[in-house]
Amino acid sequence: MSSDNIKLLKNPFNLSNPITVQVLGICSALAVTVQMKPALIMALSVTIVTGFSNLIISLLRNTIPSRIRIIVQLVVIAALVIIVDQLLKAYVYDVSKKLSVFVGLIITNCILMGRLEAFAMSNKPIPSFIDGIGNGIGYGLILVLVAFLRELFGSGKIYGYQVVPQFLYDLGYENNGLMILPPMALIIIGIIIWVQRSYNPNLIEK
């Protein structure tokens, strides 16, 4: 992979992260991060959709009439999301029930339209695909990190396995009920943004 492509893949992890820097896709980040498993499946679904919608739109970019380009982008995104939703219902039924409407709402996730308009419409297929995958992973990293903290402190589990030992509960330790409610996710994302900006002062707006 050329260094440009590596940059495309890696930038969204940190310096242009869709959630913490571009502040896109917050809604689903609050909703599906109570436990790690739904968060991982959601991250995977979004990565697949961003990757392939970027690829398809980039392949079509010279044929798309500019007057209906937004509609064409939406049709491609919607089709991919429905396919992902159907696959989840078939192969991971319990998770798809937990994710419920949020899989459908990937369609309205700003990350997708943002990347299509800003990147795929004016770049070649391979870089577009890599850009989509990179942004999907960047989104997923934050999702998994938030879910890890919320599941650990909210239910004492990691990926469904009990990690906080029983004797701590016997000593009076309690799971934090606030962690499993959406406001805490917002606070955690806020803290992540704060930490990230302290490490990268050039991200701070003047």
């Binding site: 064409v72 049709v75 429905i82 219902k89 078939a90 419920s100 409407v101």
Partner: protein, 235 residues
């Protein structure tokens, strides 16, 4: 700039291709999805009778413990239905009460206890709620109940699908001492401990709680003539 004709042709072709791909996917995945739904229903039925199960062994356990699935009508007559398991309850719900086919599942456990499992369906705040309730063979005492919902508010109405809420139903009774059908009520502010016909409602989930109360009453009352007939037969 593209011409209007080009835009029309472009969008038509695109939509047709997308439609074809989506229908193909839906048809291919249909059998697996309906299998998942069937397994989920079996798990619900087993859970209501407090039989431990998981996705893998649900079908086997269902065949082992659920001795028969029958359908009755609101007069308590047993109907001649081939496959009571696959009766579409939402569809039956639209018919007149006297014309509905009411499915029942008879479960015989390892210790010889018989449970009668009744499916429930009703309305919550945002959409349908449903569940299964298992009665002991006195057709009165509740063995267990499970509830589920389409989209009740998380943390409030959605609590009906938690174990702690459902556990309250065990050992409650749907008939009073004189044998009059009373159903189970969800009591706001908490039910008395010795109340045999009441459980705690969910704070902040009043409409969902009322929905559960109505669902229990409406559904169980349809079965009550069948229950009474069976009770009389035993005596």
């Amino acid at each position: 700039m593209h011409s209007n004709t080009y835009i029309f042709i472009y969008s038509s072709v695109l939509v047709i291709i997308v439609a074809a791909i989506l229908s193909f996917t839906a048809i291919q995945l249909q059998p697996i999805q309906s299998h998942n739904i069937k397994i989920e229903k079996m798990q619900n039925i087993l859970n209501s009778a407090n039989i431990e199960n998981n996705v893998k062994d649900a079908e086997e356990l269902y065949n082992k413990y659920i001795k028969s699935a029958i359908a009755v009508n609101s007069n308590g007559e047993i109907l001649n239905v081939e496959n009571a398991f696959s009766i579409d309850i939402p569809l039956e719900y639209k018919k007149k009460e006297s014309e509905r086919q009411l499915p029942l599942f008879i479960c015989v456990k390892d210790n010889g206890d018989t449970n009668i499992i009744v499916p429930l369906r009703g309305k919550g705040l945002w959409g349908p709620i449903w569940g299964y309730i298992a009665l002991k063979n006195d057709y009165n005492t509740i063995e267990g109940a499970i509830f589920d919902h389409k989209g009740e508010t998380p943390g409030l109405g959605a609590e009906i699908d938690t174990k702690s809420f459902q556990a309250q139903f065990t050992n409650k009774q749907i008939y009073d001492e004189t044998g009059v059908f009373t159903s189970i009520k969800l009591v706001k502010g908490g039910a008395n401990k010795d109340d045999m016909h009441g459980v705690d409602a969910i704070s902040g989930g009043t409409i969902t709680s009322d929905g559960v109360t109505h669902m229990l009453k409406d559904n169980l009352s349809l079965y009550s003539s069948y229950f009474e007939k069976e009770k009389n037969l035993k005596q």
